[in-house]
């Protein structure tokens, strides 16, 4: 995937996550830990996963979900899976 369009993907993901967890985009750092720093609970986590799966038409296996701990992890996953 071209670098420019991935910057756009990152922006979209950040916006979506910020809406779901109700944390201002400006305060949402790429390395902030969802659970420890941002108070994300299991419902919000599920919503994040479901919205990413739907938008980018991918399937995230259940075993991989605990490995997603911050925005950077989502970016990494998407970089690998979307074309």
């Amino acid at each position: 995937m071209a670098k420019d369009s991935f910057v756009e993907v990152k922006k979209e993901v950040k916006k979506k996550v910020s809406e779901i967890i109700e944390v201002d985009e400006n305060k949402l750092k790429d390395e902030s830990k969802f659970v420890e720093d941002l108070g994300v609970d299991s419902m919000m986590a599920l919503e994040i996963v479901a919205s990413i799966e739907k938008k980018y038409k991918i399937s995230i296996p259940e075993v991989d979900i605990p490995k997603i701990r911050c925005l950077n992890d989502i970016y990494e996953l998407l970089e690998k899976t979307i074309k």
Partner: protein, 148 residues
């Protein structure tokens, strides 16, 4: 209408009981697609019509939500039978429902639920309630599952 699950099997899965059990039978299970259809016979004998409303019985929207949520638990049990067999606690996390038409006594309310995402500890389900082939309510329910 043929039942795939009768009331005894339903009660093995759903923790709710009278006056809060709103699934009478399971009429269709599509495991591959991740969907289930259930039936609730809406009767004038349903206790909530006594107060909602005297002389003007209309099924409360919150009860329609509860019925769709109970159908969602059945879908969870179909897809995660081993966890459901241990009777975990199911709790509602988020509800986003539109009501399109009122439901009156005498209706066969069909609860159609389809998985968007189901994991061991939670689920997001697309839900719809239909009466006479018309959608009366639809939306999305999110719930959590906690082992006892």
């Amino acid at each position: 209408m043929n039942s795939v699950w009768d009331i005894n099997k339903i009660q093995e899965i759903l923790p709710q009981r009278y006056p809060f059990l709103f699934v009478d039978s399971v009429i269709e299970i599509n495991e591959e697609e991740g969907s289930v259809s259930c039936l609730k016979n809406v009767s004038i004998n349903d206790y909530f019509f006594k107060g909602h409303f005297p002389g003007n019985p209309v099924m409360p929207g919150v009860i329609i939500i509860e019925a769709m949520a109970q159908a969602s638990i059945i879908l969870y049990a179909v897809l995660k039978p081993e966890i459901a067999a241990k009777h975990p606690v199911y709790y509602l996390g988020n509800v986003d429902i539109k009501f399109l038409k009122p439901v009156f006594p005498g209706t066969q309310l069909i609860l159609e639920v389809t998985k968007e995402k189901i994991m061991d500890k939670a689920g997001i389900i697309s839900v719809a309630a239909k009466a006479n082939n018309e959608t009366v309510a639809k939306g999305r329910i999110m719930f959590g599952v906690q082992p006892k």
